[in-house]
Subunit: 437 residues, 2 copies
Amino acid sequence: MSTPEKSIGVAVLGLGNVGSEVVRIIRDSAPDLAARIGAPLELRGVAVRNVSADRGLPVEMLTDNVEELVSRADVDLVVEVMGPVEPARKAILTALEGGKSVVTANKALLAQSTGELAQAAERAHVDLYFEAAVAGAIPVIRPLTQSLAGDTVLRVAGIVNGTTNYILSEMASTGADYSSALADASALGYAEADPTADVEGYDAAAKAAILASIAFHTRVTADDVYREGISKITPEDFESAKALGCTIKLLSICERVTGSDGQQRVSARVYPALVPLSHPLATVNGAFNAVVVEAEAAGRLMFYGQGAGGAPTASAVMGDLVMAARNRVQGGRGPRESKYAQLPIAPMGVIPTRYYVSMTVADRPGVLSSVAAEFAKREVSIAEVRQEGISGGSGARIVVVTHRATDAALSETVAALADHDAVQEVNSVLRLEGTAE
Amino acid sequence: MSTPEKSIGVAVLGLGNVGSEVVRIIRDSAPDLAARIGAPLELRGVAVRNVSADRGLPVEMLTDNVEELVSRADVDLVVEVMGPVEPARKAILTALEGGKSVVTANKALLAQSTGELAQAAERAHVDLYFEAAVAGAIPVIRPLTQSLAGDTVLRVAGIVNGTTNYILSEMASTGADYSSALADASALGYAEADPTADVEGYDAAAKAAILASIAFHTRVTADDVYREGISKITPEDFESAKALGCTIKLLSICERVTGSDGQQRVSARVYPALVPLSHPLATVNGAFNAVVVEAEAAGRLMFYGQGAGGAPTASAVMGDLVMAARNRVQGGRGPRESKYAQLPIAPMGVIPTRYYVSMTVADRPGVLSSVAAEFAKREVSIAEVRQEGISGGSGARIVVVTHRATDAALSETVAALADHDAVQEVNSVLRLEGTAE
């Protein structure tokens, strides 16, 4: 009689779209998973808020006592997909301290507490994996931490929030305004009842913090990320973008910048930006995500796929789960947090980018020249100016596209324009990304 | 006085474009690499064919004795980037048997001897990594083996040969014929003196074998891969493709297919195919590579980047080298070969694809109908027919696009058409990929 292989016990916290799909795969693909891991994966319990609801799972499998579940001696791995920062943080810390490896998709938590969680994993000599926290099914974390481990990452730029990308794609293709595109997104389930975290860029900023942390071996939290949302984007901005051969996308950008003092710093920022239609990110539409990585030796790489949804996110969770389980069977663990560089964070004011400024001005001679002078005074060099009449209106519209300038110089310029007597209103200030100069 | 950290000794075999860049990174990025690995990486020696040539390296670092270098006690890791199957195979086996981990970019060797090498690595309990063997800098191997380890891969389709993609892109954009596009590629250094391995699809087939092996947990060799090259593609094929809203790409396709007997099999194949312009692979031009992976839960993912060249390939080698070194420092090893499924190989005859058939026919009434009858007789259903006069010629040109049919049914149809008295010549038979039906 042969001894049965010791199984690997799994606890799943949360049974929403992702959790249900993770549970389904663990059950339906059991033989395949066992072969890949070298031991069977066994579901020990699932934490839910309400155990009485019918979940299609044996009732003894369900519990509302998260802390008890993650402390069980027969649980080796914990999958956290329940969402908010608390009680997820506490549950993950308990699990790690109890010697369990953890797989989480909780970007808000990671962007706030990455140091704390990574240290707890380190102390307990267990794995903390989070591929699903950024860009759903798209492998981004593992390529950055492993495949590019011998290269120097220069820049990561991505579309990592499906809700805003759906809204912006809709505005671009139909000419809809922000509110009606948001309403459509809500009706289709792409936006939550309170869409703030998505449309104001908080979700994208959390992901930028995670990407910057691993790309630059530096701990970056969501608070370090400069952030602008999409709620002020107008159909007129899309019209101007189109005239300039661009579209508008909410980008999460992480960059290694070298200051005039020679010091390398990390810039992490989220904002809507004009992107040339020829840029690979311009064609990423709807709920899709894409991340472009530029590294010294590798050049430009792009990763593209479904950034959200139960099944795609579960795919990423399952990849992490299999790797953590395999490490457990082989008595090892995967690569640890690599935070040796600890570069300082670059303040937004010093980051040079190109700008698009749209304003309504008095329709009289000399205005264009005096507006241009405000840019010149602050050494903001203009690349392109377009002046358009406003149908039925009493003013004209001037759109200025600048060469690279610092945020500080541009902010001063915009403040001066707002006070300028020929300028009725500065309608929009957006950045332009993905061009050479 | 503190004991210095034990360093990790590296031997590099081959000092071409990739080897030189690997050596450069090991030397220039030493502090970063040491921080990521947890110990310094030290170059112990480089194997070259001719030690007398000036290589910018201390002469005592160079050797033409590969076997001696890979057997040295102070070498922990071996990077094999010297190219041909032999003597690389022997050197890698010696290294693995001596307990050294190996990183190789040698796709021809891997596609021939993957089982032998994987078993040697297994016996010695060391790592065998080969991210650089497929699609240069683009992380594909690691995402397939790790990120998708909990998912079920259905299909991998990629443009993984830069030479042929350059030639086909050139033919598409300039209308050039095959010979002159090949001559251009040679002049620019994109094609080798003997281009056979690239243009006849051998290189793409080796990569398909490697991708199929890891995607489907089955050992697939280059001999198992159905293969057609691009040397017969004509400007007329590109004209017809354009009229059909397509371009032509050399694709490496690996697919999980379920036969009428319910048995799952692996299909691995390389051929030039019509691809709709709206498909993500259609816009991958020049020397770029891209791989599209479709998995059950993850949906469709795409990986894009530079598929060849010294620096991009070195980036992939360095990622593997850092991971292997880290495993060594931590006393473990990475995931092993996963070959448990061992699905049988599907014969090409049973694979259903869509076809494009171009033929020159007599320009007289009734020909179209009798040609169409040949398809119908073999139950090959026609989706679209185009008939064009040939300028100054005595015949007409008929282009037929079919619905899905098996290779066997289509081959019979083409044989019958070739014998048909109204058909002067069957000019081209190409597959159509990336469409729904």
